[in-house]
């Protein structure tokens, strides 16, 4: 299969132009994020960008509300901006963690939840909201419990896959599946036992930014930014480990240390994301995929690309979730699943066609 003159795949054989293009794409993604941010800021029940005409703000009023100090400022600074920022933080966290997990597990179907974060967080959240654990903490109870139970769960899943200091990712993956199933049953039992109506927990289980506020942004921003930075700095190591653990060792990386660091960081930023808003699916799975199609597999470019696009994607999805039905909330997980599901099918089919063509 040597490159021929008319071979479409060989068209971009010039590496310099390939890399230049990738850098431009990165810049473009940043621009897209900023654009999406501003569009989202202007989107909402009161407009100016809203599904139906009626009692909406004009763009002038919106500008004044955003940059000035009018009665409309509350819509922007109290409600939309913190929610959009938080959606961006969560999207960035999930996409970044997803990229790292796909590299560590050498499996492009991995997502940040396979290590048990989602099921662990669910247990914590349900204990707080349904059984009333930590009621004295008020609205912070659920996120705090969710965060810590997520971390504990990851620790358990991880230690099941460690033998004498060496991390066996296949075992970690399988134990993640087993633990998730077990904890899922625990969650169902708690809900049943407490008599809570299951449908009231669906928004959390599907992910919802309904209650997002500045305190969430403040709590999550630092861990997520720090975590994403760490993942970026380990970009070359992630490249190496994708070629196999022995190869990674041959290239000077310690594969076990890498796995531990990445699992820890992913657990941290995913738990921080999930604790407040529930389980937002598909972002951590499909954003790295899409970005790989765009910029290739070099993680020094892929990680920032995924992080930027994850933020953009979730900001956009949340904007749809809070305006699609006028004045009402749709769980954002539905929107991400609607986008993610078909895209996933498309990816599977594309891989099948590629496989057959070989």
């Amino acid at each position: 299969m040597s490159p021929g003159p008319g071979d479409g795949a060989a068209a971009v054989a010039d590496i310099a132009s390939v890399r230049r293009r990738h850098r431009l794409i990165l810049l473009g993604l940043l621009g897209l994020l900023v654009l999406t941010f501003f569009l989202a800021v202007f989107t909402g029940y009161t407009g100016p960008i809203a599904p139906v005409s009626g009692d909406r703000l004009s763009f002038g009023e919106a500008f004044q509300g955003l940059f000035g100090h009018t009665s409309n400022s509350v819509f922007f600074w109290d409600i939309r901006v913190p929610r959009i920022l938080f959606a961006g933080i969560v999207g960035a966290a999930l996409a970044c963690a997803g990229t790292a997990m796909q590299a560590i597990f050498r499996n492009s179907m991995a997502d940040p939840f396979i290590i048990g974060v989602s099921s662990g967080a669910a247990v914590g959240a349900v204990c707080a909201s349904v059984l009333g654990f930590g009621a004295f903490l008020g609205s912070l109870a659920s996120p705090l419990f969710a965060f810590f139970s997520a971390l504990v769960t990851v620790l358990v899943v991880y230690s099941l896959g460690v033998v004498k200091g060496r991390v066996y990712v296949d075992t970690v993956l399988l134990s993640g599946v087993a633990v998730a199933a077990f904890l899922g049953a625990v969650v169902s039992f708690i809900i049943y036992y407490a008599g809570e109506r299951y449908d009231r927990l669906i928004p959390w289980l599907l992910g919802s930014f309904a209650d997002a506020r500045w305190s969430y942004v403040e709590a999550a921003a630092l861990p997520v930014v720090a975590g994403a930075l760490v993942v970026y700095l380990y970009g070359r190591d992630l490249n190496a480990i994708l070629m196999g653990e022995e190869t990674a060792y041959n290239l000077g990386t310690d594969p076990d240390q890498l796995k531990k660091v990445m699992l820890g960081v992913a657990a941290l930023i995913t738990s921080a994301a999930v604790a407040f808003v529930g389980i937002v699916g598909f972002v951590g799975l499909i954003v790295p995929h899409m970005m790989r199609l765009l910029v290739g597999a070099d993680h020094r470019i892929l990680v920032p690309a995924s992080t930027l696009f994850g933020a953009t994607f979730l900001i956009a999805a949340d904007a749809v979730a809070r305006t699609a039905v006028i004045g009402e909330e749709l769980p954002v997980g539905i929107i991400t699943a609607l986008c993610g599901g078909p895209f996933f099918l498309y990816l599977l089919r594309r891989n099948r066609i590629r496989g057959e063509a070989k």
Binding site: D78, S139, A194, G195, A210
Partner: protein
């Protein structure tokens, strides 16, 4: 791109589009159609009776709120209720001694809580069979599949599922016919109707300003157009901000509530709820709402808010008092 690849790409795009449309349609449909089943409106109870020579009832057929004509071999002597609302109604018409089994949530009146328990969301079929009732009464919240199971075992069920106040009065009369406590049922219905009218006369009178009202039965969960709660607020003399939404039982966005600027906020409390006035005031942007600034945040027992039996009138009166202290103080 080769012909095969072209076709493949086109196929993929169509798959994408088809799946996306289907998914979007079903979600939207689910939202707009709502979850409740079909209920019969109208205030007249539809029934027929067969007597024998001695004046005993040999066959009693009553149409329930789903429009089903349920035929019984006489007045039931043992009834199992699997929802709290029918339980309350039965006891209220004086038929409480006919009730032999109730679900976990039937806690009112106090005697009801002493009956044999037959399950919560999942019915304990064995327990029901063990009691060998003549009739099972339920609301519309019990899964159809479990009721069908009981029918197969030979136990008929009767649905109480009303969506407005007239329906409540009808349900009470229905319970009266079913248990042959017609006089008591009529008396109760009449007194409830009188109380409702007493409220409505004041709240719906000309010149009474309706305050903008936001009622939530769970954080952000409010009453949309066509729901019982919407009617409740109207009769209590309020203007439900949720009336402008689309779904019957919507989850409101913060922006919507802030933009609607309710003058009065009412939230439901129960054993599992964590909401309180401080929590509501801390929601993003809610501190600008008139109701919050003026400390017009009130609570109502979630059981009288969401059980559409005799106590809904208690709820109406409480709500009217909250919305119009000047009329009911």
């Amino acid at each position: 791109m080769s012909g095969d690849k072209q076709r493949a790409v086109v196929w993929n795009l169509w798959t994408l589009v088809a799946v996306a449309i289907t998914a979007l349609a079903s979600v939207t449909a689910g939202y707009y159609i709502g979850a409740s089943g079909h209920t019969e409106n109208g205030t007249q109870v539809s029934y027929s009776i067969d007597w024998d020579e001695s004046g005993n009832i040999t066959k009693l057929t009553v149409t329930d709120d789903y429009g089903r004509a349920v035929a019984l071999n006489g007045v039931p002597k043992k009834i199992v209720s699997v929802s709290p609302t029918p339980t309350e109604i039965l006891f209220a018409v004086g038929a409480g001694d006919l009730v032999v089994g109730v679900d976990e949530y039937s806690d009112y009146p106090a005697e009801a809580a002493n009956r044999t328990k037959v399950g919560s969301f999942t019915l304990n079929i064995e327990a029901i069979v063990g009691l060998d009732p003549d009739l099972i009464v339920s609301s519309d919240l019990v899964p159809q599949q479990q009721l069908d199971q009981l029918v197969e075992l030979g136990y008929p069920y009767f649905i109480f599922a009303t969506r407005n106040f007239e329906g409540v009065l009808k349900d009470i009369r229905m319970a009266g016919v079913l248990t042959w406590h017609i006089a008591e049922a009529d008396a109760l219905a009449s007194s409830l109707e009188a109380r409702m009218n007493a409220v409505a006369q004041k709240t719906l009178a000309l010149g009474v300003t309706k305050p903008r009202t936001y009622v939530e039965y769970y954080p952000y969960y409010t009453y949309g157009p066509g729901s019982f709660g919407d009617d409740l607020i109207r009769l209590a003399g309020g203007m439900n901000v949720g009336h402008n939404l689309t779904s019957e039982y919507p989850t409101a966005t913060s922006e919507f509530v802030v933009a609607s600027d309710p003058q009065i906020i009412v939230y439901a409390v129960g054993p599992l709820s964590t909401t309180n006035a401080t929590e509501i005031a801390s929601r993003p942007g809610w501190d600008t709402i008139s109701a919050v600034r003026n400390m017009q945040i009130y609570s109502i027992d979630e059981n009288i808010l969401s059980r559409y039996g005799p106590r809904i009138v208690d709820c109406l009166e409480q709500l009217a008092e909250i919305l119009h202290p000047e009329l009911f103080g």
